[in-house]
Symmetry: C3
Subunit: 143 residues, 3 copies
């Protein structure tokens, strides 16, 4: 992973074998990012697990073959003092059809390029909400 | 709806039962936003109506069950003195297939998180173009 | 093509008949942009060619009918002294299904609106990597 910034805006470059979302956790930790949005990510994933929330649990779908990462969207917050990353993705298959959902995990293939827009001085908490069984982003006060 | 900003960049949090695109109209009105892009939105929608422009009219598709909001993209301009919001979305269904198009309406489920990038001091007009039967964004002068 | 900026953030408006990705090359050249991300693009394309990288070559799919541009993501770098644009897209068809991949080319229909986030003073090189047969974005030093 490499990253360059212009103020609060970061361009991130992920290389073969790196894992999503873990590499965004490392990125956030390395740069002290506690509040951010991920509006863009493209490239190739060689393995991806997407999931659909059915109201009780995430129903996963594993795609073990290379796919085009067509859209990547998400946020970086904080949970229990550690970066908390939540990502959704659309991927393009060999027949150009698309599959999408919550990105549980993905392995970078040739490259992934991503834009991260941070909110310096803020922290977005992501507490676990027992009533729904999920962590949910809050916008917090100024951290 | 909650929103926090870092200069021209806003993070928006929508909660259960709020309606798209209306809640972005309220957001724009509350903060005097007359020119913006919406590059990111993720979360869950419990009801969504997408549409395809066939050259004459929008052909709708209603999805009455919860879906993953996988991508949300759009713009905020101004029409007849009011905020004008145009959104496109990709949603992930229970079988992880995706459906996409113009987002006519959607109801927020567990949460929607969205990034909005504004252009302070500008207004993007969205006049109705009778030749095509649609409103189309212009970039305007500095407002 | 029209474009307005607020610092490093640009809103771009493409009109009927303009071609992607060429028009982003012209945009980058006109404004001296050597490093940028494209996190948002919506509108209509009347013709689009998407492709899937199968490890050896891009397998194309041509869609000769109008489609909704549902997501547009990419980056602007530099290759051999010229702007180098790489885009991925999801498009919505008449039946609201979606197709996605590397955007080889597309012709703008009624309108395309796009957000471009630049990194002033930087250049992202996109050298050809013979080992994989593709150009790959690097983040460079400060240009």
């Amino acid at each position: 992973m490499q990253a360059v910034s212009d103020g609060a805006r970061w361009m991130v470059r992920l290389v073969e074998g790196e894992r999503l979302p873990d590499v965004f956790v490392e990125f956030a930790r390395a740069h002290g990012i506690r509040a951010a949005a991920v509006p863009m990510g493209i490239g190739q994933l060689t393995q991806v697990r997407l999931a659909f929330w059915n109201g009780t649990e995430y129903v996963p779908r594993e795609i073990p073959t290379p796919v085009e990462l067509v859209s990547l969207s998400g946020s970086i917050g904080e949970a229990e003092g550690e970066p908390s990353v939540h990502l959704h993705a659309t991927v393009g298959l060999a027949d150009h059809s698309t599959v999408g959902g919550h990105l549980v995990s993905g392995t970078v293939g040739l490259l992934v390029e991503s834009l991260v827009e941070t909110f310096p001085g803020r922290a977005f908490p992501r507490p676990f909400d027992e009533s729904v069984g999920l962590r949910r982003l809050e916008l917090g006060g100024t951290g």
